[in-house]
């Protein structure tokens, strides 16, 4: 391949890279400039934080942030505990019906809670917990994906370690906590990052089960805000949009490598 070919390729790569960065760059431009510059590019346009301030005042974003944070934490905590216990059972215990139980768990990989909205809504309404954070989180707490991922990891733990700990008198849960969990740490990190980004971004199910400020997560809050009839201007909507994605975005920029590796690890197994 000639030198020309190489440099053409570099140019191509950069053009695609710029194209890919354009929407976000444009959003950042709009959010940090006064409305009159939102559709007009001028290098020396004054920077401002006004759009963010206006967005923050126009809707209860503080409450939405709190809701999303609580929701994501609650789901992750429940997932970690439930999946660890279930994965341990599948990896190291033999009991009647284990194979069938495992297949039944895997069913959730194809039939995700995302598509069972009609029946799950019915269940939540019967439980009387519509419009609560619990209703948003419950269908996701037992995660087949997490169980599968951890089971694979636990299976690679040498049985000798397990037995050695038992000989020293450690109980079942103690072995799990002291031997298995520490060895699976990278997998926990990967799973946590994927889970956090998934539930921070989740939209349709929360949209369906919530209808008040006290339970709405950020994504739904943003939608309610930006589709309001009052005709909010674009700079403010963009500011709100960036604001809601900021924690994930900043986290991603800081821990880029971990994010990419986590998504990779989570996808490949």
């Amino acid at each position: 391949m000639s030198r020309l070919g190489r440099s053409l390729e570099t140019v191509g790569a950069w053009l695609l890279g710029l194209l890919w960065a354009l929407p976000l760059a444009y959003a950042i431009w709009t959010a940090f400039h006064p409305p009159q510059f939102s559709t007009r590019f001028a290098l020396w346009a004054p920077l401002t934080l006004q759009n963010f301030a206006k967005a923050w005042d126009a809707a209860p974003f503080a409450r939405y942030f709190l809701n999303t944070t609580l929701l994501v934490t609650m789901i992750l905590a429940a997932q970690l505990v439930l999946c660890t216990l279930a994965a341990y059972a599948f990896a190291r215990f033999s009991f009647r019906g284990r194979e069938i139980a495992f297949l039944l768990v895997l069913v959730q990989l194809m039939i995700m809670p995302d598509v069972l909205i009609v029946e799950n809504y019915r269940t939540m309404s019967r439980l009387g917990i519509l419009d609560t954070l619990g209703a948003i989180g419950l269908p996701y707490m037992a995660s087949a994906f997490g169980i599968f991922l951890l089971r694979q990891t636990f299976k690679t733990v040498p049985k000798e370690l397990d037995e050695a700990a038992r000989v020293e008198g450690a109980g079942m849960l103690e072995v799990l906590w002291k031997v298995y969990v520490p060895l699976a740490r990278p997998v926990y990190v990967a799973y946590a990052l994927v889970s956090i980004s998934y539930h921070w971004n989740n939209f349709l199910w929360p949209l369906i089960v919530t209808n008040s400020v006290s339970s709405r997560p950020l994504t739904v809050g943003l939608q309610v805000f930006s589709s309001g009839d009052q005709g909010v201007d674009w700079s403010i909507i963009t500011a709100a949009t960036l604001m809601t994605s900021a924690p994930l975005l900043v986290g991603f920029l800081l821990f880029q490598r971990q994010f990419v590796q986590s998504f990779m690890r989570a996808g490949i197994r």
């Binding site: 559709t39 039944l104 039939i111 069972l116 029946e119 921070w200 994605s245």
Partner: protein, 284 residues
Amino acid sequence: MHGWLLLLPAAILLATFTHYPTLATLYHSFFSTAKPSRPSVWVGGDNYRAMVEDPVFWQVLGNNVWFAVGTIPASIALAILMAVWVNGKVAGRGLLRLSFFTPTVLPMIAVANIWLFFYTPGYGLLDQLSGLFGLPSHNWLGTRSTALPCLIVVTIWKEAGFFMIFYLAALQSVSPHLHEAAALMGAGRWYFFCRVTFPLLMPTTLFILINAVINSFRLVDHIVVMTKGGPDNATALLLYYIYDVGFKFWDVGYAAALTLVLLVILAAFAMGQFLFIDRRVHYQ
């Protein structure tokens, strides 16, 4: 015994929110929707009959197929291209990887908001650009012929970077000896890619393909933000239609029948994945 105890909490939740609703979907699809004057009654296959005669259902199914055909090959091709570039010796590849992957981290709803602005007639970026060339203003999301392609573009933008990292992982496991051997034999880069790299990426491509198909039936957030299924259902996908029928018209009987169709489609593709993963395990 201990095994079941450990499993119990997860099993209860899975049974309540995955297995029960799946069976309940089937069951309720044979019932009419309860009305204030008339409770829900067994109607046999009426919901399914209505579905077959519902032109919107067929349109929505067609939309979904077009959406899958429009998004999947393009995002896979772009993902391979990105991965090859980022894996190679291109200057500034760290920045490139960042640029390609960032859309993956953003919420779909945020992405949709940003792109909505792009497509706004009159002063959106797209219209401003076409204005430079003297083209008239166009209502991108409000025209039947352009609305779905607009959503497809957004989805490609969001997904290609995600698929890229799987290819990147696969490329990094390609042995450098292959490159050396090919160089010795004077194989060009394109030849090498077609004959060596691409076949080696095949398992990754299959894996991504199945996930992409499932995603195309599962992700409708951008529709809620950008078009609400319009104009004239031109952008409604199956799950969005279920949402519409179930939560705007509150026709839960019909929504159950529609959900069952979606479940069957997902199950079919997941079976394919299952068989494929099985095969890969054997080959390793």
